[in-house]
């Protein structure tokens, strides 16, 4: 064991310390201190396997530090800090604990050097994060949480099954580059895919994220899916299928995002779409594209958090995040509006904002390796992102028709958190050098060439033009008070009907059967109690004489066995 210790333990220790402190500012301060300390540690960590525990004959690597794991751990600690600052006002112990443990698990998973450790932290993120949804304490949030938990834990179980099979095949539990082919690796891939919200496996995301608390969503948006991106980048770089999966992922959420009314759900869709970019980067698998994925994850966590924060601030002040009920808020929440616009500019990859310098890495990688169709899809998706996140979110929340709502400006700590995040978004966009220096591979890439800037601006302006035209002519889908059903139709509509009819029959059979078994089991227990209970023959204190008889019987038996053999 080296002189270091797993960073995740810092968070767990912080969670324990949290309970010792009284509710109030002391706790909130501790919540801020832990990520800062962790961030400093991550920054100064040397590379290598720093903390190995031998369990039976398996080496559990708790601290595999290299450039890929470090950049993800770093952004996770930053996100934890920003999320906790944003949640300064929260006095709910459950949420505070969950936020710390969740961030700790995610960081632990990033540093996990073997599949078993990964599994433990993987389930850790699932179990801790669900409390951020349940913390809303509504009936709906409870059910959403349960659905979320089932999916997440299911993903963990697949991972464990995959890891076990993988160990059987290869004799190793090391978490390194794998190639698809055996059942084991497919299961692991599927587990990652669920958490990464692959198309058709994505629904938990749009279901759960908008259901969490105002502050919970900000934290949720940072860790789970990006952890999956990290896991894919570690385990399956250069798997060609990922390119096409990623391309589909960038496309389909756009259409749902356009018709969606709940702004947080819109953001959830656009999150899914952004994940697509990262997955494409992993699929291409070159140094440039993997750099792009890491950089995009880094930038994405920041601006996505910023967007969730600003919409969250609106929700916090007005009590709704529905596009149809909002509008005109720029008058009383100007700062929030500015931050929201910065986030929107970043996600739309405006030059001088963070999204631009990260997304262009992936786009360049795609065109460089000759994936022109994919490149075109990504380009279209970029336009779409601008459309629904870049324009729609700020437009419907802060401008559009005046809703008459005159809420106060967001509280100071929220403004601080948003301001810091916005600052980082712009800083990264203007000075990409420090971020590039952190990337897994060495970079010689210049984002600000004339071609890049002009292409991007053209794209953005035409997209804006399209939005304006559609709005003016009234073709743009109006914000309707509705719940759009995605693939969750299967389990929200189809399954209940199916289950309802089948369960009617089943329940009768079950009742009869369980009645039968219950009486049987009761009879068995009664019989066992009769013989083994305190008054029973087996448990009584025997007279000394009969004890001695047993000795004789056993001796006789042993002698017979002995002499006969």
């Amino acid at each position: 064991m080296a002189e270091t210790f797993p960073i995740a333990f810092l968070f767990f220790a912080g969670a324990a310390g949290l309970l010792a402190l009284p509710k109030g500012h002391a706790r909130a301060a501790l919540l801020l201190a832990v990520p800062v300390v962790a961030c400093l540690f991550v920054w100064s960590l040397p590379e290598g396997n720093l903390w190995t525990v031998r369990f039976f004959n398996l080496d559990l690597e708790f601290m595999r530090v290299d450039r890929l794991s470090r950049i993800f751990a770093l952004i996770f600690t930053i996100a934890a800090f920003l999320g906790n600052l944003y949640a300064w006002h929260v006095r709910d112990t459950v949420q505070q604990l969950a936020a710390l443990l969740y961030a700790g698990s995610a960081i632990g998973a990033v540093f996990a050097g073997d599949l078993i450790t990964l599994f433990f932290y993987w389930e850790g993120t699932a179990i801790t994060s669900v409390f951020l949804i349940w913390a809303r304490r509504t009936e709906g949030a409870y059910h959403t949480g349960v659905r979320y938990l089932i999916v997440q834990v299911g993903s963990g179980v697949l991972l464990l099954a995959g890891a076990a099979l993988f160990y059987r095949e290869s004799g190793s539990i090391a978490f390194d580059k794998m190639t698809l082919g055996s059942i084991g690796t497919w299961l692991i891939f599927l587990a990652f895919g669920i958490k990464c919200a692959f198309p058709l496996l994505h629904n938990w995301l749009q279901d759960a994220y908008p259901a969490a608390t105002v502050t919970g969503t900000v934290v949720l948006s940072a860790f789970t899916t990006k952890l999956a991106v990290y896991a894919l980048a570690r385990g399956f770089p250069g798997t060609e299928m990922l390119i096409y999966i990623g391309a589909v992922m960038t496309l389909f959420p756009i259409f749902f995002a356009v018709i969606e009314n709940d702004l947080r759900r819109v953001l959830a869709y656009s999150l899914n779409n952004q994940l697509g970019f990262m997955v494409v980067g992993i699929g291409i698998g070159t140094e440039l594209s993997l750099n792009g994925t890491a950089a995009h994850a880094f930038a994405h966590i920041l601006y996505k958090a910023l967007l969730f924060m600003s919409v969250g601030a609106v929700l916090f002040r007005t009590g709704t995040a529905k596009g149809s009920e909002l509008g005109g808020l720029y008058k009383t929440m100007p700062l929030t509006m500015i931050f929201c616009v910065i986030g929107a500019a970043s996600i739309s990859a405006f030059p001088l904002f963070s999204g631009f310098i990260s997304k262009s890495l992936i786009l360049s990688a795609a065109s460089h390796d000759g994936y022109y169709i994919v490149w075109a899809i990504l380009l279209f998706a970029s336009a779409g992102v601008f459309h629904h996140s870049g324009i729609k979110i700020p437009y419907f929340a802060f401008f559009a028709h005046d809703s008459g709502l005159r809420p106060k400006e967001a509280p100071l700590h929220m403004l601080l958190a948003m301001g810091l995040t916005a600052f980082l978004c712009v800083a990264i966009g203007v000075f990409p050098g420090p971020l590039y220096a952190l990337l897994p591979f060495d970079v010689d890439y210049v984002p600000y060439t004339t071609t890049h800037v002009v292409t991007q601006l053209q794209l953005l302006f035409f997209s804006a033009l399209a939005f304006t035209v559609l709005m003016r002519t009234g073709i743009y889908p109006p914000e309707l008070k509705s719940v759009n059903l995605d693939t969750d139709w299967t389990y929200r509509r189809l399954m209940p009907v199916l289950i309802g009819s089948v369960s009617g029959v089943l329940s009768k059979v079950w009742a009869a059967q369980s009645n039968f078994t219950q009486t049987r089991i009761r009879a068995v227990i009664a019989r066992l109690y009769h013989s083994h209970g305190p008054e029973g023959r087996m448990a009584q204190s025997w007279p000394t004489g009969s004890m001695v008889i047993w000795i004789a019987v056993l001796l006789g038996f042993t002698l017979i066995v002995n002499f006969l053999s």
């Binding site: 525990v53 109690y529 083994h532 209970g533 305190p534 204190s541 047993w550 066995v561 002995n562 053999s565």
Partner: protein, 508 residues
């Protein structure tokens, strides 16, 4: 042969370690009585036990990599003189026994004060030391008759220790009496078996016995000797139908005595059984294989289930734990019966793990008894709130008893299942898992009583004194520590198993 190199005159103190481990408590016992000072008794007892513990630890360190130490009492070379012989298997047992006694003694101070009148304390601790001496002697000696002598020393003092429980419950007297009858019969069987062996071979040194039995092969006398020895020791082990002395003895003995005996006495007997099965007699004898297969294994499995069922229905926590001990002994015997390295290693590891697990549990129950005045379930209800530290330790012990991963108990059950699978006896592996589920039930009953019920109205809320809590928690932490730091137990038990299974070769 290695014996040539060990034929030397012991010169330094470290050469005398094997005898020192026994001698220190043996001399301290009469010293306590002669001094007769109540204030000095406990410190002397504790120091003697601690010294013995240090000695055992040093011994374990020097043999853990294989090899053995042969010590000749009074410089008389075997087979004429008595030989002490320390290898990984018995060094491990010595370590366990002295470790438990050293941790139980600080605990005992408070507990004994409340359960035994003060004028008997000096004699109590003297008996405790004699019992310790006997158990250590049984483990360390390489002379078959010497085993009998030490066995009697430990047994006689055990009868007295158990009878001390009569100040709390008069039934302790009948329990001690029953144990005396049973134990004496067992010892007699054992010595009859030894007599037959002596008749057949003309020696009592284990290594010598092993050679000569191997030379002359199986005959009637040897077979009869084997049967008598197995049944005789089996009684001390509490093999299933011979367990009848155990529940009462454990239930009515003073708490500290129960904690000490449950963790050590049966474990030492299991060690002796292994020594005779594997070193003196050889598993190559058909009669031995058949005895294991037709007697030991079926009764071991019977113990695993029947005793667990009885434990489930018990209304007295101490008695519940006593029956669970019988079930756990079944696991050890099963491991021995498997006759492969994993199985025997499982038996050795379980001997150790179950020792520390039961020490936590019985010490915890003792603390509950001290505060609530009884170990029946209606007296321990709601103790999770009133005595949170004690209750938490009991829960840890309970988890280890079940064999939850991350506790000591998991490792040995894992090895046992592995041993059964290696042999291709997968139904037995399933039975091991199923019987562990029964442990879940009775441990849950304890948890339910302590945490989910409200305490009886007449019980005052007070945590156990620190002098009891610290030993309890040392053991509880050991339960968890040995669940994660599996290297120590694994290495020691595998070395021990290899040494034992090597048969008489392991003795040279």
């Amino acid at each position: 042969m290695a014996t040539e190199t060990t034929h030397h005159v012991a010169m330094t103190l470290s050469d005398h370690l094997p005898v020192l481990a026994i001698l220190v408590p043996f001399v301290a016992a009469p010293l306590c009585v002669l001094l007769g000072s109540r204030s000095l008794t406990w410190p002397i007892t504790f120091l003697a036990s601690a010294a013995s513990f240090v000695t055992s630890f040093l011994l374990l360190l020097s043999v853990i990599d294989g090899g053995f130490i042969s010590y000749h009492i009074g410089g008389w070379a075997p087979p004429l003189g008595i030989e002490y012989r320390v290898d990984a298997a018995n060094a491990f047992v010595l370590f366990l026994v002295t470790g438990i006694s050293t941790i139980v003694l600080p605990y005992a101070r408070e507990s004994v004060k409340s359960e035994i009148p003060e004028r008997h304390h000096t004699l109590f601790y003297a008996c405790f030391l004699l019992c310790l001496t006997g158990l250590l002697g049984v483990a360390v000696t390489g002379d078959a008759f010497n085993v009998f002598v030490f066995l009697e020393i430990s047994s006689l003092s055990t009868y007295v220790l158990i009878a001390q429980g009569s100040y709390r419950d008069r039934r302790a007297l009948t329990a001690a009496y029953d144990y005396l009858i049973m134990g004496t019969i067992g010892a007699t069987f054992f010595v009859i078996g030894l007599g037959m062996l002596y008749m057949a071979t003309g020696t009592l040194n284990m290594a010598d016995l092993a050679d000569r039995i191997a030379d002359q092969g199986a005959n009637r006398t040897v077979r009869a000797a084997f049967a008598f020895i197995v049944v005789g020791i089996g009684l001390k082990v509490a093999i299933y139908p011979l367990h009848l002395w155990l529940p009462n003895a454990y239930t009515y003995a003073p708490s500290a005595v129960t904690a000490f005996l449950a963790a050590t006495a049966t474990k030492v007997a299991v060690y002796v059984l292994m020594r005779f099965l594997f070193s003196v007699f050889q598993p190559s004898f058909l009669f031995e294989v058949n005895t294991l297969e037709f007697m030991i294994i079926p009764f071991a499995i019977l113990a695993m289930f029947a005793a667990s069922f009885i434990a489930i229905f018990q209304t007295d926590l101490k008695r519940l734990l006593a029956y669970s001990s019988i079930a756990q002994i079944g696991y050890m015997l099963l491991g021995i019966g498997l006759l492969n390295e994993s199985g025997v290693a499982a038996a050795v590891a379980h001997l150790f793990n179950h020792g520390i697990t039961k020490a936590v549990l019985f010490m915890g129950v003792g603390a509950l008894v001290l505060r609530s005045g009884g170990s029946f379930f209606d007296r321990i209800e709601g103790m999770g709130k009133l005595m949170p530290w004690t209750s938490a330790a009991i829960v840890i012990g309970g988890l280890s008893l079940i064999g939850v991963p991350g506790t000591a108990g998991f490792l040995s059950k894992w090895l046992l299942v592995q041993g059964a699978l290696e042999k291709g006896w997968w139904p037995i592996a399933i039975l091991v898992v199923l019987s562990s589920l029964l442990a879940v039930i009775y441990v849950w009953r304890i948890v339910e009583a302590m945490y989910l019920r409200s305490p009886a109205s007449d019980i005052e809320a007070k945590e156990a004194p620190l002098s009891m809590l610290v030993p309890i928690w040392i053991m509880a932490i050991a339960c968890i520590y040995f669940g994660f730091a599996t290297d120590i137990t694994l290495t020691a038990s595998h070395t021990a198993a290899q040494g034992l299974l090597a048969g008489p070769v392991g003795l040279h």
